[in-house]
């Protein structure tokens, strides 16, 4: 409700200032908020409508003339080439100075050289050891300077973005380390967290950002929310605003990242390994090329090339796996995750061998008996995690972690409902612990909502699907 109040206040100030309505009319629109709204709205409108002084016309005109004159002078000025090292004396002067080094000068030169070597050695030590320093530590400025320098010399949009994500992760790690040492967290630490995260979120476009980086940002913002919630008691009172700002940035950033990730994944071709794994029973799956569909169910023939099985990769569950579709609402371990008589995900992996660490694979199994919300459903299985998701139709798109991740489980499954070309609702589920977040569009912004609000804020058909996804989350023992 707090968020809603901020929106209402901003809308009312805007409406009053543009003459769409009066303060009194605004208050009647929100009777339940009117007591709280009235004093703030009046003060806001008072400032909004205040005749703040304009520059004196005479000054403005004179300043404009001076500016135009400066433009002409700037255009007429000859351009001198920049000197790379303007402070260094020219070479002949150096030669002359070196030539004069004799006697006492040599001793002085030796001492200088020794001091220089010592300084360089110390600098190297500081540089090397500053990486794990924390704010307040005397080496911390060195760490930040090193980061800025590295960023300066990192070229290419992807590489720079990659490093920026690492820096945001580093800032979050610093917050965690502060908390683990029970040190109080101040404004600057949280401000740095916001300053490193916000640009990443703002520039998050599925068309221009690789999906692996979107996934990192998704994980980062999810983790930020967890960490900020945990460290809240250690945040100094004067940093309460920064904490709230950090939470807003991470929450909205996460919603945007989830949406971008789902869009990016929906545009990708299904990975071969994934397709192969949808044909359990084949010892060495071959991306469906040689798969001979049996009479098994293929309920998602209209699906997009995202996660849903395509006609070319029709799942042909063996008798063992026919029993795999799980009633998603059950909390029992999913038979699909460990199909009886069928291969486990690891067994189906193209390159496992005994003694080797098995990769955590992602499986997608159709749920032919499930038509909740009038949709077709699939089961995503990642290691010992599983969740039911709608087939990619009727506005739903789905993404899940890349299929080659090793334990510990990382990433998340996201199901996004799109309406009118933009996301209207979304669910993200973290595969490592099954924790879920639900988002809904409110006043044009995707915001996280409580599970209890799903039925209250979303249309019944969408709420039913989301509730079904949440109820299907299953974690079995590894």
């Amino acid at each position: 409700m707090k968020r809603r109040f901020e929106q209402v206040l901003a809308q009312c100030i805007e409406a009053v200032s543009t003459g769409q309505c009066t303060v009194e009319e605004c208050l009647t629109l929100y009777p339940e908020l009117s007591d709280r709204l009235e004093p703030l709205l009046r003060l806001g409108c008072r400032m909004e409508q205040a005749p703040f002084p304009e520059p004196e016309p005479a000054f403005r005109e004179a300043a404009r003339e001076r500016f135009l004159a400066a433009i002409r002078a700037h255009a007429a000025a000859p351009r001198r080439p920049r000197r790379l090292f303007p402070v260094l004396p020219s070479l002949p002067q150096w030669r002359w100075r070196l030539g004069s080094v004799t006697g006492q000068h040599r001793v002085a030169a030796a001492m200088t050289a020794t001091a220089l070597v010592a300084f360089l050695g110390f600098s190297s030590f500081v540089l090397a050891s500053s990486g794990d320093s924390l704010p307040g530590d005397w080496r911390y400025p060195v760490k930040r300077l090193t980061e800025r320098t590295r960023l300066t010399f990192t070229f290419g949009d992807d590489a720079r973005r990659d490093y920026r994500i690492s820096l945001a992760e580093e800032r979050l790690d610093e917050v965690q380390q502060f908390a683990s040492r029970e040190r109080q967290i101040g404004e600057s630490l949280l401000r740095q967290l916001v300053d490193t995260t916000e640009p990443l979120v703002q520039a998050l476009e599925p068309d221009s950002v690789p999906s692996d980086q979107i996934e990192r940002i998704t994980d980062l913002t999810a983790k930020q929310q967890d960490v900020l919630d945990q460290v809240a008691p250690l945040v100094k009172e004067e940093a309460a605003d920064e904490l709230e700002e950090a939470l807003v940035v991470s929450s909205e950033g996460h919603a945007k990242a989830v949406e971008a990730l789902a869009l990016a994944r929906s545009q990708e071709e299904p990975p071969e390994e994934l397709l192969a794994l949808t044909t359990p029973g084949a010892g060495t799956p071959t991306a469906g090329a040689g798969a001979s569909p049996t009479a098994g169910p293929s309920p998602t023939s209209e699906t997009t090339p995202g996660l849903s099985p395509t006609p070319g990769t029709e799942a042909s569950p063996t008798p063992g796996t026919e029993a795999s579709p799980v009633p998603p609402a059950t909390a029992e371990p999913s038979p699909a995750a460990t199909p009886t008589g069928g291969p486990t995900p690891a067994e189906a992996s193209p390159t496992p061998s005994s003694g080797q660490q098995q990769l955590v694979r992602r499986e997608l199994l159709p749920l032919p008996d499930d038509h909740t919300g009038g949709l077709n459903w699939n089961l995503i299985v990642v290691g010992h995690f599983s969740v039911a998701v709608p087939a990619e139709e009727n506005g739903w798109i789905v993404s899940s972690p890349l299929p080659t991740e090793q334990p510990p489980l990382k990433g998340m499954v996201a199901a996004v409902y799109q309406k009118g070309g933009s996301a209207a609702a979304a669910v993200s589920v973290t595969v490592s612990d099954g924790s879920a977040s639900v988002f809904a569009r409110d006043n044009g912004i995707m915001r996280e909502i409580d599970e209890e609000q799903v039925t209250e804020l979303l249309p019944p058909s969408i709420a039913e699907v989301i509730s079904h996804i949440l109820g299907s989350i299953t974690l079995t023992s590894p």
């Binding site: 109040f5 004093p39 806001g44 008072r46 400032m47 005749p51 004196e56 403005r60 909205e252």
Partner: protein, 196 residues
């Protein structure tokens, strides 16, 4: 109630076109940017310094710096408004550093006419705008920045968000917090006056 119409900034596309021409030294485009942003920058600077004479000097310096730096401006790093207000912010910081903790010489009251009808029953309406903006100086910097850009520079929520490189909702949060805190300060201030 007297309503002021808020002058709108050009659309993204229009502004990009102007900035692109300005970057290549087009005098007309530079003048357009000057006309578009000069009053906003002036009000922002005035709100921060409280001194009209200082605000005039600093605003002129901001645009001289813009002239020297616009060739290096790149859209992908920040929107133009964000870049411009960042220069203004830096200029203010630099000015404050040079002038130490010198107090402002001319009160804002000289240049702000309070149009509120009188007498009014509400506490906040009995206070002058000068006093309100003075009280706002006690707010955290992020909240102050939003107030100055929203109410002194007449930027909308979305333009303020662009100028600060923040999300719109974040600006709304800061705006709400700023006004709520300011309202408390106004009430406290009024109670203090009553005690005297």
């Amino acid at each position: 109630m007297h309503l002021l119409s808020r002058p709108e900034l050009p659309t993204d596309g229009q502004e990009r076109d102007i900035v692109q021409r300005a970057r290549s030294g087009n005098e007309q485009a530079l003048a357009e940017l000057y006309d578009l942003y000069f009053p906003r920058i002036y009000r922002y600077v005035l709100a921060r310094t409280g001194n009209p004479a200082e605000a005039e000097d600093i605003t002129e310096e901001v645009f001289v710096r813009v002239l020297g730096a616009i060739g290096a401006f790149q859209w992908r790093q920040a929107p133009f408004a964000a870049w411009l207000f960042r220069i203004a912010h830096n200029q203010l910081v630099s000015h404050a550093r040079k002038n130490g903790a010198r107090r402002r010489e001319t009160p804002l009251a000289a240049s702000i006419a309070d149009p509120a009808p009188d007498p009014l029953t509400r506490v906040e309406d009995r206070l002058s705008l000068e006093h309100i903006f003075d009280l706002a100086r006690a707010l955290p910097q992020a909240q102050r920045e939003v107030l100055w850009l929203r109410f002194a520079s007449d930027l909308s929520v979305s333009d303020t968000a662009r100028a600060l490189g923040k999300q719109e909702n974040n600006v709304k949060v800061l705006q709400h917090k700023a006004i709520a805190r300011l309202q408390k300060l106004v009430v406290q201030s009024e109670l203090g006056r009553a005690d005297q």
